[in-house]
């Protein structure tokens, strides 16, 4: 098996790992870097449980080969909280009970972050269509959507001059 050393920046920290042999970025995150917060729900890009942000883009980690991470800036769920302070999205998900089993939650949070990074004031429809690639079987999405929109409001407040 041909594996190469891959250098990337994960959650702000430079990392080095072995990748290759057909391994996906998801495999590398989970098995090489032991960052198991990103989940495999299907391995074929249909469920979004493996959502991460690469160079500012929301992607499925199962649809990238590990060597493609070379030189990239990768954000995973483990980096969403800021030194132990929950991101408003994480806070709202908890406040609004927007998770039950929690398996799709890391992917949903990363996808929601990518949305709010781009669109600070999304409508309900925009939230739903942006998150269509994140399948949740437990919640029926209602509380998820509310949590995302409330987190967006929180973030907009934070940016208002005090």
């Amino acid at each position: 098996m041909s594996r190469t050393v891959v250098n990337a920046i994960v959650n702000g920290e430079p990392v080095e790992f072995l990748g290759g042999g057909g391994q996906s970025l998801l495999d590398a995150l989970r098995d090489e870097l032991r960052l198991t917060g990103t989940k495999e729900g299907c391995g074929t890009g249909d469920c979004g449980a493996c959502s991460v942000i690469v160079d500012g883009r929301l992607v499925c980690a199962c649809l990238m080969l590990a060597p493609e991470a070379e030189g990239k800036r990768i954000e995973t769920i483990e980096g969403l909280a800021d030194n132990g302070h929950l991101h408003p999205l994480q806070h709202q998900f908890l406040e609004q009970a927007a998770l039950q089993c929690g398996f799709c939650t890391p992917g949903l949070l990363m996808a929601s972050k990518a949305l709010l990074d781009r669109n600070p004031d999304p409508t309900e429809t925009e939230v739903r269509y942006w998150l269509a690639g994140n399948i949740c079987r437990c919640t029926g999405y209602d509380k998820v959507v509310r949590a995302v929109m409330d987190a967006a409001a929180d973030l907009r407040q934070e940016e208002k001059p005090k």
Partner: protein, 757 residues
């Protein structure tokens, strides 16, 4: 025992919406699910599966695979040792262990594409995959049968030559695919039909649908040299996994420790075993831990969906709308081995309604598909689809409001169900009335929209549970629960303990114990955890309170009858004693002086679970040129007794409704002519995505708390999936202008029904 009828106004914790105690781990990626464990020396396991829907296994040659460097163990059905089998209680049904074992690793025959035949453990996923290719299995391919009605028909390929239909006398001379015929009923349906003003008939079919949990099955098993082993797994029941694994491998229960990982959805689908016995057998062969995780494709091919169904129904009614009799035959797919929930379908079909004369027949039918597993109110949604559609037809025929018709026929306390239970603490009528008064039901429909209404029932069970409450030296408390948390139950357990102990919720934490650390429990399912395990939690907390009072009395040297305990503080009611109040913190701080650690554990078999009733309303539109349906508004109402944590109860209603909408519109197993599954992926097994649904409003009806539970709780998790199939179908039927009888109502089906395809 607390009074379940206590006014909610007086509760300090129960009924509120605190953040769940396990929540932070779940939103930060720290929570450990079954596939998240890494152990030193851990091997990767993979399973070789049958490419044929029906075949005899002539030979399994593992010699080439054994030689591949990195392969450490290979097992087949020959490595299992289930013996005579017997039954194990598994959630809401008994599991025939011989069948479970043969499903885990085939013995002699394979019965569906994807049936496990052998397994390997190797030092890397790549080597494991290569090893699978090197295992040579020689099959004698046999004719197969997929559809339930075809499997019953004469001439169908027979799966098991020792299957003689149970429940039929005399015993059939020849084996067939009908495992069992269930019969239940009462009264005189013939007379009811003879006297009826209106008769409604229909044949209804539903397709097999999967629970669709996002987390595939996963476990790590580690065998020790002395025969003691540990299993970490994603499961709804660690004791169930222990029992089944022990039975399949013929091991003593006390030698297997099962640690429940966080579970990424179950919905009943994880109340059995697929991987754990295999992983343990592999680990046993090589002495190293083995991780075994299903791919999504394997989940579809080899884990149990629920049954597809074919049902015939007839209703007899008076011209005023009173249903006087009903006849129904339900034929459910069991998949490869006996055990569809058809009997539960028969029991629940008319449980909402007071129908005097009933005749129900249920057929449990095997065919070359994966063995079905429980799926949220197993058996009930399909039956309700038929019944609630027929009732909708009746309402149309009599020009009656669909809710009024249901109120007229609804069961009330004291009525008897067809399976002999007496209806108690039912708020079904109140739920119907709440829906009728709700703005959704009152709202005018826009042109091109239609509204469907349907009701549903689930028993909810009690059963065996254990829990412990420990008071920490600084006056906080830990609840130890015997049940995996699939919906947020840790929050409810902590809340009920906090309420009972008089502590703020932030001081009470909840953990889920492994099989060695808490008393036995039945699995998480049957909508029973808040009820039964909650009851154990409250009883344990009450024992702690009694203990605290004793210690206070001892400290004050007063009679225990003079000790009052409220809001975490014990006070002495005897004015003759110099007795400053003692907080739980103070009592805990000197527990050694008053008898030792403060803790209590309770194991019980909870009785008195109360059934749940739901009523859903669905508004939708159809694109008349393409047949595509859009749900525009949805409301789910349910008789919940008392919502311990209302947000998580709402979540159950919303999640169940969403699953039901998917079941109604787009989800189905698609088989090709070769008996192979065509859509074993989330791409073509179409579950609702966020843009498919509107907000789902909920109505929590707490008119009749369950007095048998210390806080009045009824089970809530399963009822919500029962009404949606007909709620959606009744609306679609209204728009199409004819009764839709086959699910799913995909655009192709709807367009054809509109006569425009």
């Amino acid at each position: 025992m607390s009074d379940g009828n206590q006014s909610p106004v007086s509760f300090k914790v129960v009924g509120h919406r605190p953040i769940r105690p396990d929540g932070v781990d779940k939103v930060t990626g720290r929570a450990q699910f079954g596939a998240d464990f890494h152990l030193p020396g851990m091997l990767t396991g993979r399973i070789k599966r049958s490419p044929h829907p029906h075949a005899r296994i002539l030979k399994i040659d593992t010699s080439a695979a054994e030689k591949l460097p990195g392969v450490k163990a290979i097992v087949t059905g020959a490595d299992l040792d289930v013996g005579a089998g017997g039954d194990i209680e598994a959630g809401e049904h008994a599991a025939a262990m011989k069948d479970v074992a043969a499903n885990v690793l085939a013995s002699g025959k394979v019965f569906y594409q994807g049936h496990a035949v052998a397994a390997v453990a190797a030092t890397s996923p790549e080597i494991a995959a290569e090893a699978l290719d090197l295992i040579e299995v020689t099959y004698e391919v046999l004719p197969h049968v997929i559809d339930v009605d075809e499997a019953i028909a004469a001439g169908a390929a027979v799966l098991h030559d020792d299957m003689f239909t149970k429940g039929v006398t005399p015993k059939p001379a020849k084996p067939s695919n009908v495992a069992q015929r269930h019969v239940m009923g009462r009264g005189d349906v013939k007379a009811a039909f003879a006297a009826a003003d209106v008769v409604i008939e229909g044949r209804y079919t539903t397709a097999a649908v999967h629970q669709g949990y996002i987390e595939p099955h996963a476990c790590v098993a580690s065998w020790g040299a002395d025969g003691q082993s540990t299993i970490w797994c994603s499961s709804q029941g660690q004791f169930l996994v222990r029992a089944m694994t022990a039975r399949i491998l013929n091991l003593p229960l006390s030698d297997i420790k099962v640690i429940p990982a966080e579970i990424g959805g179950g919905f009943g689908g994880k109340t059995t075993v697929y991987l754990e016995p295999v992983a343990l057998a592999l680990s046993r062969k090589c002495g190293r831990p083995v991780k075994l995780v299903m791919s999504r494709e394997e989940v579809f091919l080899a884990s149990g969906p629920t049954s597809g169904a074919s049902m015939d129904i007839k209703l007899a009614a008076t011209k005023d709308g009173k249903i006087t009799g009903a006849e129904m035959e339900l034929r459910y797919q069991a998949g490869a081995f006996a055990g569809s929930p058809v009997n539960l379908g028969c029991m629940t079909a008319f449980a909402c309604y007071d129908v005097e004369n009933l005749a129900l027949v249920g057929l449990d039918v095997v065919s070359n598909r994966p063995k079905v597993a429980a799926y949220r109110a197993p058996g009930a949604p399909m039956a309700a689809f038929a019944v609630e559609s027929a009732i909708d037809d009746l309402a149309r025929k009599l020009n009656m409001d669909p809710i009024d018709l249901r109120i007229l026929n609804a069961v009330r306390d004291g009525a008897k169900t067809v399976y002999g239970a007496t209806v108690r603490y039912s708020a079904f009528v109140e739920t119907l009335e709440a829906v009728k008064a709700h703005p959704h039901y009152q709202a005018k429909l826009k042109p091109g929209q239609a509204r469907g209404v349907a009701a549903g029932f689930w028993f909810n069970i009690g059963g065996e549970s254990s829990a412990a409450v420990h008071v920490d030296e600084d006056g906080g408390a830990t609840v130890v629960s015997s049940n995996p948390d699939i919906g947020g139950s840790r929050a409810s357990m902590a809340m009920m303990a906090a309420e009972t102990l008089g502590l703020p919720i932030e001081r009470v934490r909840c953990t889920i114990a492994d099989t060695t650390s808490i008393g036995f429990s039945g699995s998480t399912g049957g909508s029973r955890v808040t009820f039964a395990t909650g009851m154990a939690v409250v009883e344990a907390a009450q024992k702690v309170v009694a203990d605290l009072k004793r210690r206070a009395a001892q400290t004050w040297e007063c009679d225990i009858a003079h000790v009052e305990y409220r809001d975490g503080v014990a006070t002495c009611l005897d004015p003759s004693k110099d007795a400053k109040p003692l907080s739980i913190k103070a009592l805990a701080g000197k527990s050694a002086k008053t008898g030792g650690p403060i803790a209590a554990e309770v194991s019980l078999n909870a009785q008195g679970a109360a059934a749940g009733y739901g009523v859903h309303v669905c508004d939708l539109e159809i694109d008349a040129e393409t047949g595509r349906t859009t749900v525009v508004r949805y409301t789910a109402a349910q008789d919940v007794g008392r919502a311990i944590h209302p947000a998580y109860v709402e979540g159950q209603l919303q999640g169940g409704a969403a699953q039901g909408v998917g079941w109604a519109l787009n989800e189905e197993y698609v088989y090709n002519a070769k008996g192979l599954l065509d859509n074993a992926s989330f791409l073509d097994y179409r579950m609702p995505v966020a843009s498919d649904l509107p907000m789902i409003d909920t109505i929590l009806v707490e008119a009749k708390p369950n007095p048998r539970h210390p806080y009045g709780a009824k089970g809530v998790g399963e009822v919500p999936i029962v009404p949606p199939l007909a709620a959606v179908s009744n609306a679609v039927s209204a728009l199409v202008g004819k009764r839709m009888t086959a699910l799913p109502l995909s655009p192709i089906v709807v367009l054809a029904a509109m006569g425009k395809a």
